[in-house]
């Protein structure tokens, strides 16, 4: 089946953006602080995939659960050791944002140190590497083209069931909606927020592990992705998981296919300006519908989340 690689590119990028946006939204719902280190959680996943493939000589797919656990733990560390004390001390939201930026810097530095270490110890390329050739072929296409959307579907259904049907999920929704009140009725808010951060970071780790199979991995991947992830979350409305998925798919598809279309119309010099597309999304969304997709289309379906 001949398929223009641009479509694989679009499908994978959009799926990964949706995954990252889900994670960001989950963490944002709990502490109401946009986590600027979120993209670097994905970079951790990329490096775990590198280790499983090139050093352990295994398949990159093994990295998915490991990345979930490690990125999740890093996210919980950010929440427990930095954001929680800051919130307790009454730091403003802006200070918390600066703290996530600082944490991002530390993670990027550690990733760079790790990358240098891998090169020196195992003689494995650890910058601007790709694991594309290690992917399995399925129906004439790399497996990742199917794996990425399927992962979103599985995660979305699981999250939906957990949040709607289980006692824990209902407690989580209550805690994000009004943490003081849910504390009074006996919900362990701190634990629930911790789990939300674990899930958020973990999902970003999964996205990173998948990303390594198609895109170039580099310690600076995080800063490059951040505008796209935030654009996806803002388009999605920042308060709704479904909005995050829709926003991620929309921004991701537009970024890849839109650039291709415009480059075809106006010339290939436009390709370099692709990173400006998320910016356009942010501006248009904030001007026209500041509450994002979730604020327009899904207002009746969305019972959890929005405070307004």
């Amino acid at each position: 089946m001949p398929l223009d690689p641009i479509f694989s590119d679009a499908i994978i990028f959009a799926s990964l953006l949706a995954l990252l946006s889900i994670g960001l939204t989950l963490t944002y719902l709990t502490t109401r602080v946009p986590n600027f280190a979120h993209a670097s959680f994905a970079t951790i996943g990329v490096y775990i995939a590198l280790v499983t493939t090139r050093i352990w000589d295994s398949t990159p797919y093994i990295a998915i659960p490991i990345a979930f656990v490690i990125s999740g733990i890093v996210a919980v560390a950010l929440y427990t050791f930095i954001l929680k004390p800051l919130i307790r001390k009454g730091a403003s939201q802006a200070i918390q944002m600066v703290a996530t930026l600082a944490f991002d810097l530390i993670v990027i530095a550690l990733l760079n140190i790790f990358a240098d270490y891998i090169v020196k110890t195992y003689q494995v390329t650890s910058r601007e590497f790709t694991l594309r050739s290690y992917d399995v072929e399925f129906m004439g296409l790399p497996l990742i083209v199917f794996a990425a959307p399927i992962t979103i579907a599985i995660l979305a259904i699981t999250l939906h069931i957990v949040l709607r049907k289980t006692k824990f999920g209902i407690a989580m929704r209550a805690a994000t909606e009004n943490s003081d009140l849910s504390g009074i009725v006996g919900i362990n808010v701190k634990l629930i927020f911790g789990v939300a951060w674990l899930l958020g970071g973990g999902i970003a780790g999964i996205a990173g592990a998948l990303m390594s199979l198609w895109f170039q991995g580099d310690p600076s991947l995080g800063p490059q992705l951040i505008p796209s992830i935030f654009a996806a979350s803002i388009v999605g409305g920042f308060f709704s998981i479904y909005g995050a998925i829709a926003g991620g798919l929309l921004v991701g598809l537009t970024e890849v296919l839109g650039t291709r279309f415009l480059a075809g119309e106006f010339g290939s010099w436009l390709i370099a300006y692709r990173p400006l597309i998320p910016l356009v999304f942010i501006v248009v969304t904030l001007l026209l519908a500041p509450r994002g997709l979730a604020g327009i289309n899904w207002s009746r379906l969305r019972r959890h989340g929005s405070r307004k």
């Binding site: 944002m97 600066v98 703290a99 240098d116 400006l276």
Partner: protein, 353 residues
Amino acid sequence: MVLENEIVFIVDLLAIFAIYLIVNLSLNMEFGYAGIPNFGKVLAVGAGAFVAASIPGRIFANIAGIEGDYIENNLAIVSEINVWLVDNIGIGFVVFFLTLGIAAVVGGGLGLLTSFPAIRLRGDYLAISLLAFGESIRIIGNNFTPLVGGTLGVQVPDPLSFLPGELRFPIATVGLILIAIVVYVFCEKMIRSPLGRMLRAVRDNEVAAESLGKNTTQIRIKIIMVSAALAAIAGALYAFYVGGTIAIAYDRASWTFWPFLMILIGGLANNKGVIIGTLLFVTLRKFIIFFKDSFQEYVPFDVVWLDFLLLGIILLAVLLYRPRGIFVEKPTPTIDVNGKSTGLKKIFNFFFK
């Protein structure tokens, strides 16, 4: 006369200090006094540097009648301009200050443009959109060649080229420090004016300020514009000082993250704290760079990352254990209306009171 290594070290340190001081004072005005988390500071600084890289050179080339494509033959044209500037000191300075003015206007305009979509929303939306805008400056600079030569960068003409080689940097540094002092005085005056009081009122309780008839959106836009204009001047000065601009140098770490680190170490909403924080940080950074090579053999990775790690940890520690910085924000005395204090005393009060 050949300058000693130590003097070169100190001269460079002071110049970078002066430039960062301007950026940090402008950020402190925004973040410290007005509570606007501008994570896109790099945008204004970069814009200023890009103005300095693209405009004065073309003006000089026009006046001096130097032919050729400014970007393509940049090296040759700029060296010709520098030779020409030796005999045209006056024009050099006029264009230099004109460039600073243009940089301020462009910076202020960009501030207005970038704050517009999100200024009415909550702070985090503003922070995110400013951050995204800040990322864009590098992308545009890197790809739009006529601006700053894309990935190759361009040279910036040197209005001080009439000075002998070893005197150029010390005198440039003195000039930078003078400009930084002017900016400091401007910021202090502004903070002590009724406008500054209103800023703090908006930061501390927006609803209360609004209920007293203050237009909080307008004041926030205004302060973003002023602060962006100052940062753009700093960017232009930096470009003139180092004598070149390359888009890749305007990244988030150097011109957004470090300024936040410096003002948080020194003390938010305290301009004296900003001076101390900037001096501490710039000195630390300079020493790290200076001693980097001697560390290199002991660690199996590039020492640059140790530097990042250290600074990130310092910032987190400051946030957690000394959230108000070295100098805590004090009640700001307004300008003395009686005006009885004499000249010297005034200056003393200004800096130490």
